[in-house]
Amino acid sequence: MEYVAQQVMNALAFGAEYALIALGLAIVFSIMGLVNFAHGEVIAVGGYTMVAFAALALSNPFIVIGGAIAAAVLMSLTLERVAFRPVRYADPTTGLLTAFGVSIILQNVFLLVVSPRPVAVTSLYFLDWPVRLMGVQVSSLQVFEAVTTVLVIIGLMLFLKRTTLGLAMRAASLDFEMVRMVGVRSNRVFAMAFMVSGLLAGLACIFIMARRGSVDPHLGFNPVLKAFVACVVGGFGSLPGAVLGGFLLGAIEVAMLVLLPQEYGGMKDAFVFGIIALVLVWRPDGILSPRTEKGDKI
């Protein structure tokens, strides 16, 4: 029983992490159709900020966490200005390839400026201690992750429902031009989308770093790869879909770990991606995809 409860908690924690990243991807995709492959590098920037703080002998956890998140937000906004503005209204393939390029550049900059090898960051170990939750032994980090994700989802919902800019972002996912025609500045909408996306990346970074304890140039690549898959499965551009996809992926991944025999452990990713590919074939537009129509608007 305890084992099952622990695995459920594992699945929730994994799922929460994927959901955070997937939301960050979906929010940008929903307004500009950009599959932002450079999201992983935004996460890595947060990790390297922690390294910098450690080098400066700053170990106050609030400064470290706040700094990493701020760095991720800043990075995300910078990418929007520098790299993605020229391809803002381009077709999705152009945007996707640009993001690929940005991702390669940043990974190599990390490699060149810092190191190709992992750099240890110990300042977040304090987040992780064993706790008993309703008689089950779990990690405090997992609790933090699940709670943070729930809070983020609530916060995001409030933002999208209650603020004018939030409404504009929701509307922009269907008809950006009309949003501009009611006078909302497109630059503000794009900047806000990337800011929220960066904030979510920053939060995800905290949890990834707390678990791994080190950063390397590829820190964000694999999680983002999986988050993409989560987005697609949930329905790209749909925010509830991203959350659903994230948790689904977490569940599948933990199920694979538990159910696959030991000697197939190395094939975990293959099975996860295989299942996801099948979901995509079953519902080509994802489970909760926003309905899009081909052809002309009337």
């Binding site: 020229p86 390839l97 640009t98 490699l111 060149l112 898959v229 293959a270």
Partner: protein, 342 residues
Amino acid sequence: MILNPSQKRGLVGAAILAAVLIAIGLIVTYFGSRYQLRLVYSAFVNLLVVLAMQVFMGNARLTNLSHSAFMGIGAYVAAICVTPVTVKAISLPDAPWGLNTFSLDPVSSAVLAIVITAVLALIIGLFVVRLTGSGVTIFSLAVLVIVHSVFLYRTDIFKGNQAFFGIPQVFSLTSIVVLSVIVVFLVRLFRESRWGIQLRACADDEVGAAAMGVNIRRLRLIAWVLSAVLLAVAGIAYAFFLGTISARPFYFNHVFLTLAMLILGGMRTVTGAVLGTLLISFGLECVRWLETGPVLLGVDLPEVLGLSGIALGVVIVLTMALRPGGIMGDYEIEDFLLKGQE
């Protein structure tokens, strides 16, 4: 077979490109060092890959990221078939299904590799063609990850990241130049064929093309499988020259490299694919040389790892920002030479 004007122009264009490739091959054969020959050979392998990508991405205008995986499948199947039993007894002692108890001649191995890759591509393609836009991209990404996991995990068959050695080195630079010339013609003729034209029409206006009675899924499947077959050829050429392969070259780094080549030249045309490959292959060698920290004009440059990666990324980003259609856009090479001869 009677060719229409655009197909005739296609033949002219392909012939010009072929002449360029043959010239490069001749120059390197007679004047190049052994090291340069290897570099040029691998550039030609990448050319085959990029041409194969052009078949699907350039005509169907969908982004496929699994091309390196299909190249890997072709390379591994051929390698497993062609490697002598004596070598396999050492390198693959635990191989299942008696894989280490037989060996074929190079031609049969290549044919078998192409057939197996084609069948796999057909099965995967049946799913791919049901998807659109980002769906294709992500699905192909999943294919790449799955294939790579299998390569890595089944060390008893593929040896994972360790070297799969002992493949007879039956290919020379001449063989791959000949192969490239054939593929250039093939890819160009496909572009100008009825299928190619219909595919491009679908990419421009899917609803309209469907209304005209074009079966988009079937066309995309044809392009997908043809692309995979050419990728298998590239993989075989790779294995048959180097004699050693491993899983690593068939993953993300190679995907990005070849993608950058296709994008820079312009994925819509065959000329673009060739041009992009040549430019990046050459440019990257220059950057790699800088990376090692050479002495340039009396200045001892520092070693900068990662410079080639940055250069590659910058090429992609700048191309997308300034010329999303690549250098060639919609122009083929003969468009510059046969002006006004419509």
